[in-house]
């Protein structure tokens, strides 16, 4: 699985990166590989309030639908419009072009409590998902 050192990871397999006052959120390489071909993504709306650990988006493969959870509480700032026409972007480039949305978090310090790459790698390898 591909891991980036400058992002944090949630137990629900989202990655989260500090970008100024916002965090950018996407799906980890481990998760996109498990889900396999993504055919449809439902994103939250800009301005929508999200709660940490609660589902705020949906990713669909041919076989099933998967919830995406907000890593931090806050409000959605930007969403990746390309995902509407090219839902397979998170499969191809999970940490780059496959980003999902950005959040302006209530408390950006909470970002530090997410898992770093080494911890996440161990967690994902243990297969508890």
């Amino acid at each position: 699985m591909k891991l980036l050192e400058n992002v944090k990871y949630a137990k629900t397999h989202e990655w989260s990166r500090r970008d100024g006052y916002e965090i950018t959120v996407g799906l980890s390489d481990f998760a996109q590989h498990e889900i396999s071909d993504i055919v449809h993504i439902e994103l939250p709306a800009a301005g929508q309030r999200v709660e940490a650990g609660k589902p705020c988006a949906v990713v669909e493969s041919v076989k099933a639908a998967f919830d995406i959870y907000a890593p931090l509480s806050g409000s959605i700032v930007k969403i990746n419009q390309d995902l509407e026409t090219t839902p397979e972007l998170p499969n191809q480039d999970p940490y780059g072009k496959g980003w999902f949305f950005t959040i302006k978090p209530d408390n950006i310090e909470e970002h530090e409590s997410l898992m770093d790459a080494a911890v996440y790698e161990k967690f994902a390898a243990e297969g508890k998902h």
Binding site: S36, D37, V39, H40, S61, V62, A65
Partner: protein
């Protein structure tokens, strides 16, 4: 966990293995969409050895089968394959099966993997003192399907039998190399192709033989994930989803397999009644108007009145939209009519489609 004679092959090929109805099966190898598209454009190879095979032999074989299935066994000739439901006393479907006639005293039945024990017990319960022998050969058979437009060009070099002489829903006993194989021109994908029955001990050898013959022809191993999206595009029902003990063949759109004029069979009375009266439900196929994907269990609405549930739903790689099947109450449900599917709390529109969605 039960394993097919080919489970070692799947693991070697990097198949993503899952538990499926008690069987250790590959859900995908390279990816469901790639595998699905390969079957539609070139060819795919499937391990279906989890299916059940029974043999019925003896002077009473035809009479016995004729009473148990809804379709007309007496119209079969040697070499023919027939698709038929098998009903209970209320007209509900016990299983949907294939009947192969070798002679009027020898038949092979191919039954759904999930119903092997149930069907064998059912047959035994109705066997009584009839002059016939019923054996369950499921464990000794391997079943490999090759499906797609390139199927014949891949299989022909392996056998002396002229494959163009085996028409759709016919079979022939032959050889692939030196392996005895029953070549059946049947399938569950909506494409041309064959299903190959052989002895379990020859399974790996047969698989490798077919793979070698397919060099440069883009034959791709296909898992259960794409098997489902392919059959749903072809509007084929799946036992457990569209078909069950409480659903009649008439409700499931299988009226063409019910030969009410043929004489007595189990379930005939309720089916006769249903044919002349009204059905309580009918199976429809639909395609989504927007980008939502229908899934098994989602609620179906017609003019905002709740009708029933989606029995099967998926994203169709061929049509690039959500497609599904489900039951609605009978008075309504014409092709072109709009229905609504509750997708995670939001009602999204779909259009009732002509069945099948896809056939090559």
């Amino acid at each position: 966990m039960k394993k097919t004679p080919l489970s070692h092959v799947h693991e070697k090929l990097g198949g993503r293995m899952v538990e499926f109805g008690g069987w250790w099966m590959p859900i995908q190898y390279t990816g469901i969409i790639a595998e699905h598209n390969a079957v539609r454009t070139s060819a795919g190879i499937f391990d279906l050895s989890h299916m059940g095979e029974f043999f019925i032999q003896g002077p009473d074989a035809e009479k016995f089968l004729q009473r148990l299935v809804t379709n007309d066994v007496s119209r079969m000739v040697d070499g023919r394959v027939m698709y038929t439901p098998m009903c209970n006393e209320q007209g509900g479907i016990v299983d949907d099966i294939l009947v192969y006639r070798f002679s009027d005293q020898k038949y092979m039945l191919v039954v759904n993997a999930s119903n092997i024990d149930k069907d064998f017990n059912w047959f035994n319960a109705y066997k009584g003192r009839q002059n016939l022998e019923l054996t369950n050969q499921s464990e000794t058979c391997v079943l490999i399907a090759v499906q797609g437009p390139k199927s014949v060009s891949i299989l022909q070099p392996l056998t002396k039998t002229d494959l163009s002489a085996i028409k759709y829903y016919w079979f022939a006993e032959s050889f692939c190399g030196d392996i005895p194989v029953l070549l059946s021109r049947t399938g569950y994908t909506g494409e041309d192709g064959f299903e190959l029955y052989a002895a379990a001990s020859q399974g790996e050898k047969l698989w490798e033989l077919v793979m070698k013959s397919s060099k440069y022809k883009n034959l791709v191993p296909v898992g259960l994930g794409a098997r489902d999206s392919l059959r749903l595009e072809a509007s084929f029902s799946l036992y457990g989803n569209e078909l069950d003990d409480e659903t009649t063949p008439l409700e499931a759109g299988l009226g063409w397999t019910v030969k009410l004029e043929k004489g007595d069979f189990i379930g005939k009375e309720p089916l006769l009644k249903q044919k002349s009266g009204a059905f309580t439900k009918q199976l429809v196929c639909f395609a989504m108007k927007g980008s939502g994907i229908p899934r098994h269990g989602y609620k179906l609405y017609l003019n905002n009145a709740e009708q029933g549930r989606v029995t099967s739903g998926t994203f169709s790689p061929t049509f690039k939209k959500g497609i599904g099947m489900g039951y609605i109450s009978c008075a309504e449900g014409k092709e072109g009519e709009e229905l609504q599917i509750d997708i995670r709390g939001t009602k999204q529109p779909g259009i009732i489609a002509k069945r099948p969605f896809y056939r090559n």
